[in-house]
């Protein structure tokens, strides 16, 4: 074998060795990379699960926030209703003067219910006739005296049941054509009068749930307040009350 051939063989042997080493290194590197990919895949999977959990948590918090917002709005509306009822009660029981109580009834209906057409009736001592005590924005003449049981207002007082119009009934004629509500005034189960509310304000299309609560409150508290004023009148009026207060001072 010539020297040149020996060199060539040696050269190929070295190339073979280095290629084998290189291949081994590559195989090792490949194994390491496979392990790394596996680790990364596991981490990615964990991250995905974490993200899913976070998304679920965010959705839950968002739903909770929405529920709180809805509840807040409900409470705000309830609060507004309670304030209206409080103010109405305060006004009705804020005086023992008959005219003041009538004025309070008017203010409540105008400003809280939303009608500028109303009448307040009180039952005569015989219990046969509703006598108009005050009115606002209506023609008084047809309603000055309403026999108990006559028409919607008289029937409402006779039965002791509140009347609220149904839209279909709007077509009726006569002085009660525009009647929207009639509230009997009741003290201790006894009808003492009635409050009639005719057309609502133009921008108020219909009664709302709070209006029914206000009307219920008028039915009982306005009745009691008016009844108290009559008791005060029978016992000598406000002057007598003030005189008694002065005489009782130590």
């Amino acid at each position: 074998m010539s020297e040149a051939e020996d060199h060539l063989i040696e050269y190929f042997r070295r190339v073979y060795e280095s290629t084998r080493t290189y291949l081994r290194d590559l195989t090792d590197e490949n194994a390491k990379l496979c392990a790394l990919i596996h680790t990364l895949e596991r981490e990615l999977d964990r991250e995905r699960k974490d993200r899913l959990r976070f998304e679920e948590r965010v959705a839950a918090i968002d739903a909770e926030r929405q529920a709180y917002l809805e509840r807040y709005l409900e409470v705000e509306a309830e609060n507004a209703n309670v304030s209206n009822l409080y103010v109405a009660t305060l006004r009705l029981h804020g005086s023992i003067d008959h005219n003041d109580v009538l004025a309070a009834i008017h203010e409540i209906i105008i400003n809280l219910v939303g009608s500028e057409e109303l009448a307040v009736f009180e039952l005569n001592p015989q219990g046969t006739m509703l006598i108009m005590s005050s009115s606002h924005g209506i023609d008084r003449e047809p309603f000055e005296k309403v026999p108990l049981g006559a028409g919607i207002i008289g029937s409402c007082a006779a039965s002791g049941r509140m009347y609220v119009h149904a839209n279909a009934e709007r077509a009726r004629a006569g002085p009660e054509a525009d009647l929207t509500v009639c509230v009997p005034l009741i003290v201790e189960g006894v009808v003492t009068g009635a409050v009639a509310i005719f057309r609502l304000l133009g921008h108020k299309p219909d009664l709302e749930p709070i209006d029914h609560e206000l009307l219920g409150l008028i039915g009982s508290h306005a009745a009691t307040a008016l009844y108290c004023t009559s008791l005060v009148e029978h016992t000598g009026g406000r002057k007598s009350l003030h005189a008694r207060a002065v005489s009782e001072k130590p």
Binding site: A77, V87, L90, A104, E107, I110, N111, L112, G114, H203
Partner: protein, 128 residues
């Protein structure tokens, strides 16, 4: 420690005690409420207290809200003060008259608490 920021002042004008009590209940948590029962008293209190906002009823016995509004615009203390008309008369011609007399905005009765608070906050926020 710094003093808490003073509350903005609101002058509420209405001949109805029912409305005055309700507006005070609604506003007193965040604002200082000054009450007047008529236009003449409103003009005096406005000059005295220089309110940040005025809630003004339209139908009042001594001087109606439109006239009061016009006169308030003539006073130095209230010539730029926002005035919200509070009224049972929600029709267009009343509102046009209110704006012509210097009103900033209006709400109708029965008062929607949320609407009133939003308008009050908007007016006072814009002023600040």
């Amino acid at each position: 420690m710094t003093d808490p920021q003073p509350k903005a002042k609101i002058l509420v004008v209405d001949d109805s005690s029912t409305v005055l009590i309700m507006e005070e209940l609604l506003l007193r948590r965040k604002y200082e409420v000054i009450k007047a029962t008529g236009g003449t008293q409103a003009l005096r209190l406005a000059a005295e207290h220089r309110p940040d906002l005025i809630l003004l009823d339209i139908i009042m016995p001594d001087m109606d809200g439109l006239e009061t509004c016009r006169l308030l615009r003539g006073i130095e203390a209230t010539k730029l003060t926002p005035i919200i008309m509070v009224t049972t008369r929600g029709e267009q011609k009343t509102m046009t008259a209110a704006y012509a007399n210097g009103a900033t905005d209006y709400v109708t009765k029965p008062i929607d608490h949320k609407e009133l608070l939003e308008k009050v906050e908007r007016c006072i926020g814009a002023r600040e």
